[in-house]
Amino acid sequence: MPLPSTMTPIATATLTSSASTVAFTSIPSTYTDLMLVLTGKYTGVDDSSPALRFNGDSSSNYSTTYLNGSAGSATSARESNGNTIYVGSMSGDQSTSIAHILNYSNATTYKTVLSRGGHTTYRVRAYVGVWRATPQTITRIDVYGNGVYNFDVGTTLTLYGIKAA
């Protein structure tokens, strides 16, 4: 008998109208990690990153460190005490970002997010972020654009659950 597979698609959102945010709600706690795959673009040209918020927590419980490669240079920056975690990269051209949320359902530790993303016009990035709210299972993820432009029609977000042995 084959072993049970993992990396199960939980939900997919393909935008038929532009949206400033997309929410994944009622996320089951039965997986080990979550993976969010985001492909698409903004409705305008603005070189910035999508961002995640968990369980509706809008407090300053988030921080992100990133590595950026663009225009022939490699740079790094950080946001501390923010109200979202930045992931991936997006602009007015097609881009892809993948965010991994490890051990999202344990109620013992803070949640760490790894992500990579890029778009051909501007840059490639890698991020690490942490959500420092009282340890809790993630049941909701809000995905935000950059606050200037919306996610454009055709942008696709897929949330996967990955279950360990």
Partner: protein, 194 residues
Amino acid sequence: MGAISLKYKSKSGNLTAPGDVDPGAMIPIATVLVGVGGQSSITFSSIPSTYTHLQIRLFARSTAANVAGGVTLQFNGDTTGSNYYSHYIQADGSSVASGPNANASIHYDISGVNANASVFGAMIFDVLDYSNTNKNKTSRVLGGIDNNGGGRINLTSGLWSSTSAITSIALAPFSGNFAQHTHAALYGIKRAGA
């Protein structure tokens, strides 16, 4: 705002008979959860050769006196340093560094005791063609820890100069031990038609 109610999506695809289950391509092999007292290393052994690639997903903290520190990756019990080589690019929030680790397979980062309590590092290791006896083995790692004012994000690659099929993988903090609540999961990734 677009709100998406979750529906479970079946992966079964085209089933040929009732009860058939598509096993998919990413199969969980083994999991280690570090208990009270910690442990010096995590070893996955007796790895079957039936997959094409392996992935380890590590969520970890060490007992080392640092905010962020590396993890060593060794295969088949081979502790000979000259059989390994790794490179990294590393960003700490203000600057970017890169370099080699000669004669070592060191990948970055997990948190240490100087990180804020409850902060754990995360690393995803990909080992491609692990059972191919015609190739030396390559690992690719994305990892890091953010400490709200500290921490690092890293991309590393590693080489094991051996064409042996990988049957065991050992992970260990570069210094200290893995702390309680560290979690490591090994997955096999199948090729088409397997």
